[in-house]
Each structure stands twice: as structure tokens, then as C-alpha cells.
Subunit: 404 residues, 2 copies
């Protein structure tokens, strides 16, 4: 088999962990598999480099930041190759450029435009393990680029696609995808499999396992992958295309996102044009908006718009909205506190009515008021008070029988 | 003017020093010069990386070590570019590969085979300062290579040659080339200029300012360069081709090398063939030999050979010599303790008789016995007891009036 493995920053965090990773790679290689390994920078290294850059320049150039940050992965590939050599496994490292990861020219958030794989196939055929630097590529202008958050997962999945790997394993510090965060719900269960759509909704709903982008890429190219722990040998969760049998599970998981803040734009003209002006302005400024509710205001002909934005972006959203309101000549901006977004996700939902009923009954029995609600084909999210978040997740998890 | 500057690891050792270097670069750029800057890894970084590699593998692959070590300079170029940006100087960084530093395929000690300069000229013409990673290149097989010790100096001098720079400045932690080590001789003087040949003899005689290799390269391509301090604004020492006026100085400097050990091969057949067998074996094993003396042994038809080898190489030299003696069927190996090599260097020597006389009179008056002697056109070296080394340097410095 041809296996692509990815080890995150925690898994290669220090010399001992790199040796552990090498031993794990050897166990697959010894069974006769061809192994391509993608590694991240050692945990902490990227943050150290960023801190050093920020102490020099408040707004560092993205091109130079990419030049700087790419060193983190380059260090890890060399050390991992050395660790394999020292236990008798032939191995060779490849930077993103050497692995033929060609990107566009948008520094710090480059997109892969072409992936040749370089000479990886030839090296595999020589019996070598090939270690590739995650997160980085080379632009069409021969500049070092980085792929942004979750970039190493993307490198692994893209390589798996282009090399036609039999499996892609994302080794991380969690055992797989759970029905809920095990730190909140003690009897949360690890899922054996989940489809891309559910994984995407979970990622968008605050589950930190993987960035949406890599899952979307896997979905687009039909690359099944497994999320599993680098610290034990348990099987993880396989993420793959939807299969009919998956419908048995009504709801796959409960996700929690604590990073939202509720924002209200009051006394707007009650017209689609006014709402469009607000959302267009936010969209052009790349502020993501979620859980939109429109209320009629006490003043006739006026309406209030309430929605959630990422807490990090509230200040920026206020600037953008205030400017838009000035143009409109009406309306007021108000930020009304953080909220927690609790979501249930499951492809089974589409064919089973009554899911929303079960959700709201669970919240009601726990005495939790939902302030904002949003739904998709396979997801229902509610915005609630942050101090009720854990209780809500536990109540919902139990109401859907996810512990069984 | 087009200026190539090189800043060593101590000069860019931390964020504050990088900011100082940026300010210094700005002062040249502001005067309208085009500036290309070569930087080393921050001091300590290379050693840290080596230690990390050694804790994984006792004999790390040179290819992977180059992959690892090249990250050190890549970090510095990005940080230096950011420091320039933050004080309003347009700057862009270039890895060795991007600067078109093409090398052969000998990892850890690659030689530059071609230097294109990449797009440096275009960037300079846009008014930008170009920051190039020293010490590294890219091989004809697209592998990252490093140039070995003193590699960053070589990068700077090679770039100065190919860009036809008006001057090449090697900024370091010393003020220039001195008539003797100022830690030993308090009234040692900084030389204003020195010729390549003298600089080479000084480097070979233990002066730590620069590696011979970079000086040889500068000599071959006729690149004058200046060695000066990055911590002050004093002019340094200009190293250039010999000019007639330089002959005024009989002796330019006194160098000291404490890294030699005296080795004796005793009871050899007194024949050139036997001596050749010993030196051929050492030569094939890349053990450098210096200060050779032949003594007739007490046994008729036998001779003793005494010479100095680098202390690091004594164990290896013993192995090589013992094997050669076995083939010869005669002779014994004996290492007879460390010696200090004190050398006087000066192009003026060739045309002034009596230099050796002054040297030995100085030693004699100081009560120092010289155990080994070797001479070249522009150098005389003596091997003496290590505990007499400082006294010898001071006595000789004064005897030649170098303090005046």
C-alpha cells in the first residue's frame, strides 16, 4: 500500500517525540508499505518565530513571514529523516518546493495551484520513506509561500490525491472525531466513520480537529482519510464520502464554539436593500456572519438585525458596519455580548423529522434559552449564554442517545 | 556605489542586534548606494541545530544536516528584511537558491560552481536592499547545500565578484586585522591594508579573522574587501592585491596557533622512499602536516621525522601512520605533546634579508627555545612550548617595531 501520513506539531514537539514518530513510521515501512510523511513545525516553534518577527515589526510583510515560518517545517523534516536513518530506515526529506507543491502568489494563505510530487515516486520505488515539509509551497514566481492554518493537513491530503495513496492518516493529539468534546461530555464516543459533509459542519461549528479547507479538498478529490492519535495505536475516525449505511445515525455529534459575539444593528429601514448594504459591506471585508435573526423594531417601518460574528472580528465589524450605516443615513450598531454556539450535526437529519423537536425539548428541560437559531440540511445551531454551554452540550448529547 | 556587506552570526545574534544592523544598512542606503547584504545564522543557532541532530543520530547524514542548517540563515534574512521595513527601507530576502548560488553536490562543504545572482540586479535597480542567506546554495541536483566553515564570507565575496561591486565589507566582531592578537599584545595595531598573500598566511597561521578559502576566492577574482566591526563606525582593514608601497612594512603581523601537536616517527629507514610513504599516507587521509624536521637517529641508517599536525587529528594521524609503518616493516610512532606555532608574516620579507635573524634574536633574548621551524616566501613559523607562546608573540611584536 501507499500510505501518506501527517504528524502535527505536538507529535513532533521535541527530539524524543520525533524518535517516537520515526518508530511509528518504521512499523508501517517494515510491513512493506510505501510511506510518505508530512510533518509540521515542532509545537511552539512557529509561535516563537512570529513573536521574534513582531518584536521587530508590528506589521511584518507576509512575504518575509513566509520566508521565516517555512524554516520551522524544514527543521522538522531534516530531524525526522535523521531519526529514521538512526533506526535503519532509508529516508529523505523534501521541502514543499522540492515536493512540487506549486501555489498561487498569495503569501500567508497561498492556495495549491499544481502538485507534481517532484521525485517522490522514484524515491519510494527505491524503498525510501519520503518526508515532506507541510504548510509550505513555492509560488509560480519561485517565492516560498505558506498555506495558512491547517496547511500541513492540506499538504498531506493533496499529496495523497496526486500520488493516488491507498490511505491518508492524519496523526494528531486526539484519538479521532468524538460525538462531543470528551472534556465536556465524559461518555462521548469516538466515531468510527463520518462523512465529509458532517466533518465540514463540525469544523465550522467549533470542533478543532481539522480546518474546513483540508476536508473540502479531500471531498473534492475523493480522498478518504483517518484522523488518529500519534500517541497510541488505536484506530481513529475515518472521514470519507457519504454511504447509505451512515444514515442509521440520526445525529453524529454535538459541537461547541465559544468564539462568537452577538451583534445587533438597530433601527434599520425594514427593507432588503438596507440589509444587503450591511451584509455586502461585511462580506467585502471578509467578516463572516452567522445565525442571523431579523426583528421588527418598535418604530414602524424599522427593523433590528441580530447576528453573530467571530469575537476576534467584532472591532473590525463595528468599523465596517458604522461606515455602512453612515452611507445609509440610518441605524445604530450594538455589540451585545459573547454567546456560545451549540450545534448538532448529522446526515441522518435530512430524512428524519423531529430532530429539532428533540433538540429544543432537551434545552427546555435543562432550562436553557436559545437566543439565535440557524439551520442547514445537516446541522442545527443555537446561540446560548456561554455559562450554559457545557450543560447544553451534555443535555443534547444524552437526548440523542449519543452515549450509547 | 554597489556595496556588498556581510554580517556574521554575532552581529545578528538577537533581535536588538538585527535592528542595529538594519540601522547601519540604512545609513549606506540613505547615501544613495545600492546595498546587497549577506547574513549568517544568529550566533548559537547553528550549534543548537547541530546538538539537536546529534541527539538523534551520532553520524547524521550530511544531506539532511544541510537541509537542517540552511534554516538558520533563512531565519536571519527574513528578520533582517523585516527590520529594514520597519525603519522605512524597502528590502527583500533571498535564499542561496534564489540568489542563484549554484554549487557542486558535496554536502556540508559544497563549492560554488556558478553564480547567477538571480534577480538581485533588478531588485537593486528598484531601490531595494537585497538580503541574501550566506553559507548556503543549491546544487546542480536541486538539493540545498552548505559551503562549510566561513561560507558566509565566501557568499559575500562571490556575490561582490559577480555583481562587480565597488566594495565588499565583511562586518564582524573585530575591528580589523591586527599586527597581533590584541588580547596578547596590548599595543597591537590595526592594519589599514594588507595583501591577499599576507592575509592567507595569517589565516593559515592561526589568525581567526577569516577562512583561507574566502581570501583565496577574493584573490582569484581580484575582489578587494574590508574587514571591519559591526559594533562601531571605525574603518577596518582593507585586503587587496599587493602594491609596491606595501613593501615598506617588513613584517605585517605576528600570528599564533595553539592547535598543533608535535608528532615523531622514529627509527625510519633514512631514505626518501620511506618519508614519502609516511607523507603520502597522511595526504591521502587529508591530515595536514606542518613544520617538518628530519633528524638522524642514533642507529646508523635510521632517521627520525618530527612534524606538527592539528591536535584534533592526532588520533587519526596515529592510525594512518601505524598502518604505513606496518607496510614499511619499520619505525615507531610517538606523539610528543602540544606546541604553539608563532609566525611572522609580511610581503616585505622577500626583499629584506635579516628578518630571520631579528626573529631568533628576539626569541633568544626572551629565553625561548624553538623546537620546529618552517619558512615560506613571506612567512617564518617557529614551534615553541605553549606556555611561552604569549611571551614569544610580545617579544617578536616589539622586536619588529610593530607597535610603532
Amino acid at each position: 500500500m501507499l500510505i501518506v501520513q501527517k504528524y502535527g506539531g505536538t507529535s513532533v514537539g521535541n527530539v524524543d517525540r520525533i524518535k517516537n514518530v520515526a518508530a511509528k513510521i518504521k512499523s508501517y515501512w517494515s510491513e512493506g508499505h510505501q510511506v510518505v510523511v508530512v510533518v509540521s513545525a515542532r509545537s511552539g516553534v512557529t509561535n516563537e518565530l512570529i513573536a521574534r518577527a513582531k518584536s521587530i515589526s508590528a506589521a511584518p510583510s507576509e512575504r518575509e513571514m513566509d520566508m521565516l515560518l517555512a524554516t520551522g517545517e524544514q527543521e522538522t523534516i531534516a530531524l525526522t529523516a535523521l531519526a529514521l536513518h538512526s533506526i535503519g530506515v532509508p529516508a529523505v526529506s523534501r521541502t514543499g518546493a522540492q515536493a512540487g507543491i506549486i501555489t498561487d502568489t498569495f503569501h500567508s494563505r497561498a492556495r495549491i495551484s499544481q502538485l507534481t510530487g517532484g521525485d517522490i515516486k522514484e524515491r519510494l520505488n527505491e524503498g525510501k520513506v519520503v518526508i515532506v515539509a507541510g504548510f509550505q509551497g513555492i509560488s509560480s514566481e519561485s517565492e516560498i509561500t505558506t498555506l495558512g492554518r491547517g496547511g500541513s493537513d492540506l499538504t498531506a491530503i493533496a499529496l495523497a490525491a496526486v500520488l493516488k495513496a491507498d490511505i491518508c492518516q492524519i496523526f494528531t493529539d486526539v484519538d479521532g472525531v468524538y460525538t462531543a468534546d470528551p472534556r465536556i461530555v465524559l461518555d462521548a464516543r469516538k466515531l468510527n466513520h463520518i462523512c465529509y459533509e458532517e466533518m465540514l459542519e463540525l469544523a465550522a461549528s467549533g470542533s478543532k480537529v481539522m480546518q474546513s479547507r483540508s476536508v473540502e479538498f479531500a471531498q473534492k478529490y475523493g480522498v478518504p482519510f483517518e484522523v488518529r492519535s500519534s500517541f497510541n495505536d488505536q484506530p481513529g475516525t475515518i472521514v470519507k464520502a457519504f454511504e447509505k449505511t451512515m444514515e442509521d445515525a440520526l445525529v453524529s455529534g454535538v459541537a461547541l464554539d465559544r468564539t462568537q459575539t452577538r451583534v445587533t444593528v438597530g433601527d434599520l429601514p425594514d427593507s432588503p436593500a438596507a440589509f444587503a448594504a450591511i451584509f455586502d459591506a461585511l462580506g467585502e471585508s471578509s467578516v463572516s456572519v452567522d445565525m442571523i435573526v431579523k426583528n421588527v423594531a418598535p418604530i414602524p417601518g424599522k427593523a433590528n438585525l441580530t447576528f453573530s460574528v467571530n469575537t476576534d472580528q467584532v472591532g473590525y465589524a463595528e468599523k465596517v458596519i458604522t461606515a455602512a450605516l453612515k452611507k445609509l443615513g440610518a441605524g445604530t450598531f450594538r455589540s451585545s455580548g459573547e454567546i456560545a454556539k451549540v450545534s448538532i450535526v448529522g446526515v441522518g437529519m435530512t430524512s428524519h423529522p423531529g430532530v429539532a423537536g428533540t433538540l429544543f425539548r432537551a434545552l427546555s428541560e435543562a432550562g436553557i434559552n436559545s437566543e439565535l437559531i440557524t439551520t442547514s440540511e445537516i446541522k442545527i445551531s443555537v446561540g446560548i449564554a456561554p455559562d450554559k454551554a457545557d450543560l447544553a452540550v451534555r443535555s443534547i448529547h444524552s437526548a440523542f442517545g449519543l452515549d450509547k
